[in-house]
Amino acid sequence: MIRSVLVANRGEIALRIIRAARERGIRSVAVYSAPDRMAPHVLEADEAYPIGPAPASESYLRGDVLIDVAKRAGAEAIHPGYGFLSERAGFARAVEEAGLCFIGPTADTIAAMGDKTEARRRMAAAGVPIVPGMTDAVVDAAAARRAAQEIGYPVLLKASAGGGGKGMRVVREPSGVERAYDAASREALTAFGDGRVYLERYVERPRHIEIQVFGDAHGNVVHLGERECSVQRRHQKLIEEAPSPVLTPAEREAMGTAAVRAAAAVDYRGAGTVEFLYRGGEFFFLEMNTRLQVEHPVTELVTGIDLVDLQFRVASGEPLGFARADVRMTGHAIECRITSEDPYGGFLPSTGRISHLEIPAGPGVRWDGGIQRGQEITLHYDPLLAKLIVSAPNRATAVTRMARALDELLVVGVETSASYLRSVMDEPDFRAGDLSIAYVEEHPDLLRADLGEQELVAAALAGALLEEEHRERHRAPRIASSQTGMSAWRAAAGPWREDE
């Protein structure tokens, strides 16, 4: 077993990895940019090293600095988390070449799956169903238009190097191609340093269902069932759950088998996720994420397997030690992503200092967070503040449990997605499990905060009482000072100063 690990990440995922390391007796080494000096992942780790200023390109993305710190700290392994350097084949290779263990698949596997057109080619060859479309990037807007004509509208333009919704555009008619091509290409260039774009058929109103796979260094690959992540906005997931409300056991095994075939085709080692679009029993390979996924906790809660711990064991050379038949899925789990985005302001990123935080607790509630009171939320990093996850014996109970947990959550100082997520828990289609990736656009009413009559009256009374209290406080000092002078003003100011 490895004895020490450098966690090349920040926020909730860094803390998640540090927690798993601590439980295994593995020494954890955190790294931090200047503004993260007091961040939770730094305070919880065994050791911490500064790696640069706020911009990720000068800190968390500096592979050379991270490897250097790992050597200085005597860390045996580097865990990249998700995002940042987790899917950079060059980084994985550099880590191995430095004599350290990269917790993830090999550089060759990452490279094969990271290039989306290359991945499609390989998957088609391995017999995994793919969305009809191109296997090569287009050279310009005119070529994109020709390709779109061939595939048939609507088409989806995607970044070859992409993921996470960046550099993606849907086009419904020829006149929209040029504009979409320019935007997708530009976005891909900024996000991934590679502006290449390819096209595929746009599957209308599919579900997003993905399979968690795990491979070891001994050639075993097993799947751990699915997660449904259909509630998303601009391809950014908002809510994930396991199992999917619609998959039959037969469909689950068919998708699982395809995912295992996909992983085996690239000699997969460690945790990975094969994403599919699903519609009416049909499913198509979307992409493979060669890392731990943000939404991994829902799989942990229904399988009872600690995926980060398993990553440590597999990276240490241990065999998986179980087969598909040994994996038992029980109950239902739901995750809500709590992000610093304003759902009522077009989901634009919100910044500020977290002045107060109350974290939900109680039966079946898990909080994977990376925030604390006093922390400044900036635009430098991903807006994911925390994940709120619940588990229950069945889906209906999990939904009401999530509603209850969201009622308990209080994040003050920055706008969050929580209010919106809370409204989703009451929405009939969500409750019925009637989902597609168009869910958010098809339910615009959720973008208005909805309250019952009782709560509206409570809010109105609160507003009046607060305003009255505020006015009384601001009136009092003037009266006091005119009567008795400055000392009385101070005396009067004392009790309420903390509030202002």
Partner: protein
């Protein structure tokens, strides 16, 4: 004192008097308590209890955190409401609104030039923040009177990017 409190689309008349409280004429009972050293308040409406955190914005605007919801309420006293009703302030300004940066970011593309006539919903400026492009669109028709930014320029939240004038005004 009588207040007009707007929560979402609804406005309530709340009277806080010596003889008790009334909401839209119906008797009510409510108290606010404060937990020491925290911004948390306990709101009791009759026997119903709520955990509440409130932040005050400008001119009677409050942000409330209540039962998993973050909501904005506007609180006006009778006199202010009468003045607003008379002048029509807050109902909407004359002419098209300028295009304003909703967050700090970078201008990726300016899609209009000064003098262009634009329609409601037409894309005006693309601003990138957090590696996502956001297209800012005109809320109503108008003519571009001034473009304040250019491609590649960093912009602050609330910075005016493009001014629009009404089409009549331009003639």
């Amino acid at each position: 004192m009588r207040y007009y409190v707007t929560v979402g689309a609804q406005t309530f008349e709340v009277e806080l008097g010596a003889e008790g409280m009334r909401v839209d004429g119906r008797a009510a009972e409510a108290t606010l308590a404060h937990a020491d050293g925290t911004p948390v308040r306990g709101l009791a409406v009759g026997v119903e209890t709520y955990r509440l955190v409130a932040e005050r914005g400008a001119r009677g605007r409050w942000k409330l955190h209540l039962r998993g919801r973050a909501l904005e309420v506007d609180v006006l006293d009778e006199r202010t409401k009468a003045i607003r009703d008379m002048t029509g302030a807050g109902v909407g300004t004359l002419g098209p609104r300028p295009i304003v940066a909703p967050m700090p970011g970078m201008v990726v593309k300016v899609e209009v030039a000064e003098g262009d006539v634009v329609q409601a919903g037409q894309g005006i400026v693309i601003v990138e923040a957090m590696k996502m492009e956001n297209e800012l669109r005109a809320l109503g028709p108008g003519r571009v009177s001034r473009v304040h930014v250019r491609r590649g320029q960093a912009v602050e939240k609330d910075q005016v990017l493009v001014d629009l004038e009404s089409i009549e005004e331009a003639r």
